[in-house]
């Protein structure tokens, strides 16, 4: 499987592979929830830090291992190097996510520090790490995907849409926080995490749809 994947030029990723990766990432999230619920019997509401960390611990390896397979210029960059890039991208992405959240009004107190860290690690694995694995530190690619939002091809869609989905979902997830319903899930970062994950899943669906359309369109053109 590995060799097979390496032979393919990454920009030409088949819609089946997109499907596979998205299903794996989605499943990893689901497994994370399942393990938290049934093995450790914790959930996001009563132990946000632990649950987020657990979900991250399952999601992150899946993401980093899967996306490293689609690294750019595989002849120059080994699989291990891609993984190392992903590992390096993780804290950077976490920092950026955390700073963004703080600017938007996430609680800055010390008692929220652990939660913020685990949330931003998860956010980083959803948004930042995949691109770090695939493109490394190539500025133009980052620029294309995140600043201009002009993805080319299925691979770019696969990186761009779920990441934007997660961020936008988290943004919307913050809206119920100030309401006075006094529900435990209104606490930081519970509803934001739910929003982010929902947005991530929506982004994955969108990316998959686009990938299908893309290949379909190409086939049509070829015909």
């Amino acid at each position: 499987m590995k060799e097979e994947l390496e032979k393919i030029t990454p920009s030409k990723i088949s819609s089946f592979q997109v499907f596979l990766i998205h299903v794996c990432c989605g499943l990893a999230l689901a497994v994370g929830f399942w393990v938290a619920h049934n093995v450790y019997s914790i959930n996001l509401i009563f132990d946000p830090t632990g649950t987020l960390r657990l979900i991250w611990a399952i999601e992150f390896p899946v993401v980093i291992l899967l996306f490293s397979c689609f690294r750019q210029k595989p002849e120059k960059c080994s699989y291990l190097k891609a993984i190392a890039r992903g590992l390096l991208g993780l804290p950077v992405g976490a920092l950026i996510n955390a700073l963004g959240a703080l600017a938007l009004g996430a609680p800055a107190g010390l008692q929220y520090f652990e939660r913020t860290v685990s949330w931003s690690l998860l956010m980083s694995s959803l948004t930042f790490v995949p691109t770090a694995c695939v493109y490394g530190s190539c500025w133009t690619d980052w620029h294309r995907i995140f600043a201009c939002t002009k993805p080319k091809g299925s691979l770019d869609f696969m990186l761009c849409l779920p990441a934007h989905g997660a961020v936008i979902g988290a943004w919307f997830g913050a809206w119920p926080m100030p309401l006075d319903w006094e529900r435990p899930w209104q606490d930081w970062p519970i509803c934001v995490s739910y929003g982010a994950m929902a947005g991530y899943v929506a982004g994955m669906v969108g990316s998959l749809g686009l990938a299908l359309m893309h290949t379909g369109g190409k086939q049509l053109k070829a015909e």
Partner: protein, 921 residues
Amino acid sequence: MWGWWRLGKWTVLVMFLHIIAVLIFTKGFLLTRTELPHSSHCSDLSQSPCHSSSYCWTKPVVDRLIIIVLDALRFDFVAPSSFFEQKQPWMDRLKVLHRMTLVNPSSAKIFKAIADPPTTSLQRLKGLTTGALPTFIDVGNSFGAPAIVEDNFIKQLIQNGKRVVVMGDDTWTQLFPNNFNKSYPYPSFNVKDLNTVDNGCIEHLLPSLHQQDWDVLIAHFLGMDHAGHIYGVDSTPMIEKLEQYNAVLEKVIEEIQNQSGPGKLHENSLLLVMGDHGQTLNGDHGGGSPEEVETSIFAMSFKNLPTLPSEFVSSSCEPSKNICISSIHQLDFAVTVSSLLGVPFPFGSIGRVNPELYALAVGTWKLDDNKTWNNQDELKLEEWLQNYVNVICINSWQVKRYVDVYSASSVIGFSSEDLFHISDLYAKAKENQLNLSFDKNESSNTSLPVLKRQIVAYFEFLSYVAELARSKWTEFDLKLMVTGIGIMLFSIYCHILAIRKLNKSYVVSLPLSRDSGISFGLMLASFTVLMRASSLLSNSYILKEGKVANFLLATTCIVTLRFSFMMNKLLLEAIIFLLLIFICRIAIEIGLYKQAATSQFMSASSSWVLGISLSESMWIYIVEIVSILALIILGYFLYNAISSYCRGIAKCAMMGTILSYLLIALYWISESNILDLPHFLKGMGKTYIPRTIYSIGLGQILLMTFVPLFSKEEASSYKGSLYVKMISILSTCSSTIIILQGKQGAFVALGFLLAGYCMMKLQGIEQHSVGGAAKITILDPLPILQWSLLAVCLFFATGHWCAFDGLRYGAAFIGFDEFVLVPQAILLTIDTFGFSHIFSVFGLPLFVQMEHNSLLSINLFWIFMVYGLITATTATATIVCVAIQRRHLMVWGLFAPKFVFDVVGLILTDLLIFVASIYYF
């Protein structure tokens, strides 16, 4: 002038539409309870079904009444500390009251008195004397107390020949002008003065106790309220005040006790020591939180009395100490005291005669017949109850009469269902009463249970009326409200029309225009404005409005940052901007924390913790030095700007600002304890430095208004001259605003400046061609939206919030010691709206992009109109939301203050835009 009118007519039109809409809506929304001009008379009683006697309404029980009002008396100042979980330093200070309740539990009693919000002194005095529910609109009158026109307790006293003496707070003489036989008023609005009113009170109180020329004495002490406002509850001045009051009360009680023997002056006296409202730990009041609403009444008569049957006692007792505390509504005060003195009850009162307070005094006229209460207890009790039934019967009849008259004279009074229920309850009670009378004729020995049932029936009626009045006493005129909203929406339509027109003329006159219609900036701006507008529908978002505005501002800023990444340009500016927003956010949270301490709707848990445990004095020094440093930086920027751009008069004017900055620094130094300045010098500095700064500012404004009329300066470029104008007016305003805002002012001004610079640089960034020069063809509303959101954020970050206790009254007294309405109101307005409205409107030319003259004025007007539109949209949303939520639990506590602040802000913005457009044109 004609040139101005061509563009400026729209601002005038919109302003007038706004004013009309707001006036109409306010008339419908902030409608007060209709005040009825009727008053009660002795002869009215013949219409009542109750047992009438030779007395006026009720048998006078008390000859002389001494009311000592301690302003802002918290319940825990009076109640023993054993009632609370924790003993605090301010508890148990009024020891004499505890001692009295312990010694004679049947003649002295502590009550927990529950006030109805709004808990400002004026409203409470009005409520206490009329026995009615005060309405929201009167809050605004609190600064110039108008006379009470409704029937009230004081008026009844005067009508019935009682002589009243009042001393202390001059609000009393303003509320009841020319009503008192003697008055010793002292000015009440100088918050910093803890002693004048109190010393005046003490000076006259004790001698008056020996005099015979009064029947009712009112002494209103104010020091505690002021001590709370300035130092908070947990402070030495507050405790000193409490100790002082304790000593005064001790003397008063001793004096009265000495004269309470038969035939002496105070044979039949009742002493009431009461608060008009409570206060929070910060010393604020006005809202409806338990701390503000709960105050206390201590009542003491100087005779031994029967104990009440337990059914009518609402007290909670402290077994170990034998002190019982009952609770009473302030609503009941007027009628209870009237019944004790035997004067007609105020016409509009909806309270009931409180049985416990009544029982405290009521035995006094019977004592001669029977000196041993223990014998024939039951008979005495029955007699007491019979008497009380009669009183409560009169009480119910009076309330029923008021309800009837009120619903006849008011268009939208109570609903017919409720009226029917009221009549039903009353009829039932009355029927019982008739039975009672028959019983009385047949056998003189009415059984106790019948009497008790009767009392219960009346209580049911009275409490139902009070409850109904509480829940429904705001009459909204829906027609007017809808009209107001309609005009508001029309004004927005005009606004948009005007902006489109300006846009068109702008695009037409631009040679290289490419009309692309809707830009991304426009979309984002509209989306954000709509988001903010819809957020006002929820009370939670209004409470945290600062955070919401900050969230939206940060969102737009992140979008801008993304654009700047896209263009690979101005990254530093975008990041600095984001950083400023982050700092602003922290400041907003500190403000929220302060608000939570006083607000009834917010829990006081803070989400941020400063992990700094520096010693306090060290902290203060740092803050002082850093704020002065910020001021110096500001002055340096200004100096640079002056020396490079300005010439002639403008330069002269702006040098004045630098002088003002120096004076502010001097003022801060003199205020702090860094330098040990001699006392008189400090006093001089405190009053004269601020006044000098105000007058310099005023002089600068005059200079800038009149000089351009005589000399036409030819500037090198129109944009340059616009900037010079802007810098001069901003610097002029800044000195006054900074001194009013205190030490944070310099930081905020600096931050505002920096943020404005970043926004100016960043504007239209998404239209920049990559690498090329800026070619802006479309007017971009995004930076203006950001500017307006920043203004909102700064309003909250500088420690304001949309409630009346959020006004920083202290700012009104910078440079002034006495209260004079006009200058204080102006200073308070400048403090409240300084950064968020004045600064931001005059700073708008920052976003002018055009160099060319004719286009520049179009551009300027376009910016003003867009800014006005954003403010108007938010205000309209507030108005609509207030209308929708008019039956909300928090309508008076939260929505109405928000409405008032927004509406005032809107009109102010319109006015400022009008002035600024003339100034800049």
